[in-house]
Amino acid sequence: MTPLSYLLAAQAEVPEVIDRIPSGFSYFVIPFTVGVAFMFCWLGVGLIRLLADIPKEDRIKFGKSLFIPKVALKNIKELFCDCLFHVKIWQRKPLLGYMHSAIAFGWFMIIILGHIEVALFVPARLNVTRGGLFYPIFYRYFVWMNPGHTTLRGSFFFFLMDFFLLYILSGIALAIFKRFRSIVLGMRHTTKPSFADRVALYSLWMIFPLRLLAESFTADLSGGSFLTIPVNQFWHFLFGDKLWFMPCWWAYSICLGLFFAAMPFSRYMHILTEVLWILLRNAGVKPNHPRKGVAEAEIYACSSCGLCLDACPMNVQKKNLKYSSVYFIRFLRRHNEKKINAIADKCLMCDKCHALCPVGVDAPALRRAQRATVNNTMPYNYAYLDASGSVQPSEPGRVHSRFAAAENGLSPESAPADSTQPCHANPGVLYFAGCMTHLTPRIIKSVEKVFKAAGVEYAFADREGGICCGRPLMLAGRTDAAAKVIEANKQMIEASGCKTLVLSCPICYKIFKEEYHLEGINVVHYTQFINELIAAGRLDVKKTDEKIVYHDPCELGRGCGVYLEPRAALSQVGTLVKASKEYDESICCGGSLGSLTLDTHDRAKISQASLQALLSGNPETIVTACPLCLKTFSEAVSRGENLEQHVKVKDFAEAICP
């Protein structure tokens, strides 16, 4: 065998690759070139328009973020993991993950390797004026391998190109199979492709088989490896010595051209827009309009894969499929105002589609923005917030003092041993129950019981009934009105001088964490607070052998990422059993305030589905940490439809301190 160094040296004298066609051009490249040029022009204009729609300060923020090392690293990581390897899909559905990464990563590698080959063997052709746009794509057509002078380096590239082509072909085969039997790949529902989607889809299916055909027809001239050479020999066996390879190259080029021309109008736009969306997302730029600027990047980044169809809790009924995020985004893209509003209003805002989206498209935020375009201008009159916020209520008979706690300083409500302390001895803990907790007084009762048992000194912010936290207004798209409510609550809390704010409603918890910006105040949900009490040994709990299943409320789990604390605490009082869908896959109870138009009948169906998932482990008790879930489940269980076993529904605090 010839040593490698000799081969490399020999290459310098006798060229390994010879430009078979001196002009470096053939008519068959025209369809591809036209398609790709059209796509780049379209994208260029689109990108400029999109960036122009982003507010100036956001644009500057975006520009700067690209140069912050931490963000840049995150960008690179996410670009590789999300765009090329599709890690998020791998984790959930391995076969689907394989399919997507085969096509994305394989294609990416073929393009990159094609360019590297040109750069190594015919570097002059990389120049755009000498065919740089199409030459690397059709490299195998234009070159002729000098027989007897093939180096190891050349063979290495031949092997890689064939390897990645085979890799893509396996992905394409899965994709075609998925069109007919998606359930095998783990998808119950798939999206209905639009016309442009179909054009792009069928050309995408054709591109790689045609590439194999084209390259195998010329493999005896321009080289090949384990895949193309045997196929080439097969063609010679069939058709004799002279092979007519032009039709294959034409077909290959036409399919590529069609795909790229259809791309801006199809779901495959996500291939390129995803890059922009990841950069924008990591820069921390948020959409401020449901259609323009950042939202546009988000909309075009949606791959229309339909993973959100199976995720959406509304889709227990097939008629609600059309309200899924994927169709919401499709209609946003088409500016179909009427349909957009109907879809935006239907959603429960459980955030599951966002949590499971492989591209991280925040459809619920877009729905909120869309609702705001309709509802934000509605009149409101919150003058009473200012009036009662002052120390003197304007109408003492009528107006309750919602700031009882704030006015008197924080007075400890539970009587501690050293209750001789003056009122202003700040216990540091403020408990805010919120509207929904007031509707379910059993939660307040048991929370107070827990506080008493643990000897927590606390003040009750809204014992006499307070005002809303503002989250329901936000969910309805009334952001201006919500800001008023937030401001009033914020004043009250800051005036109280507390150090820790305990909330028993996840809806309140989310907005207090995200929108209130309470500096120096630790905002915790009562599950976290009680878990800390148990961990610190301040609260004694008795372990029983009760089988408990914990339901993750949407706003607490997916909304705020609190999954482990409630489970840790509950495992101290009973045996936790698994639900068939839990953590970020947990199903909304159906009682969510997020939906504006979903009727009671549909909600009941969702409650049933959610209960079914919870009862899969045969628990005796369902524990939840949200007043809305508690109420919804209690009602669903008492209706008792389709329930084989009888279960109790308890609040978290009730379960801890029975």
Binding site: D345, V374, N375, M378, P379, Y380, N381, Y382, Y384, L385, A387, S388, R398, V399, H400, R402, C435, M436, H438, L439, G465, G466, I467, C468, G470, P472, L473, A476, R478, A481, V485, G591, L593, L596, T597, L598, D599, T600, L628, K631
Partner: protein
Amino acid sequence: MVDFGFGLVPSSRINLDLFDKGKYEELAALEPDVRICMACGSCTAVCTAGKFEPTSLREAIEDIKNARADKALQMLEPCQLCGKCSMVCPRGINTRHLILSINKIYSEK
């Protein structure tokens, strides 16, 4: 009844001739639940805003039926959309959407 232009108490006259059926039908198309309200007042009893201002969805619905949509709108202005009313409604009315729909339809001049 003839309006003499004076009285000891504010007029509580209801003129049903002024009832705008077209708008009411529009509202019912948008939120059909408006028809099933039985005026029990549970919504009013739990209302968060009702502690500070006279806010009542029950009254607002009655006002609309009594051709006083302006009063209804004013009645609903302090609403914080907290959703307590929808949780207690014995008829399962989607109160939040009803309030938004009343605003949407009757605010249009």
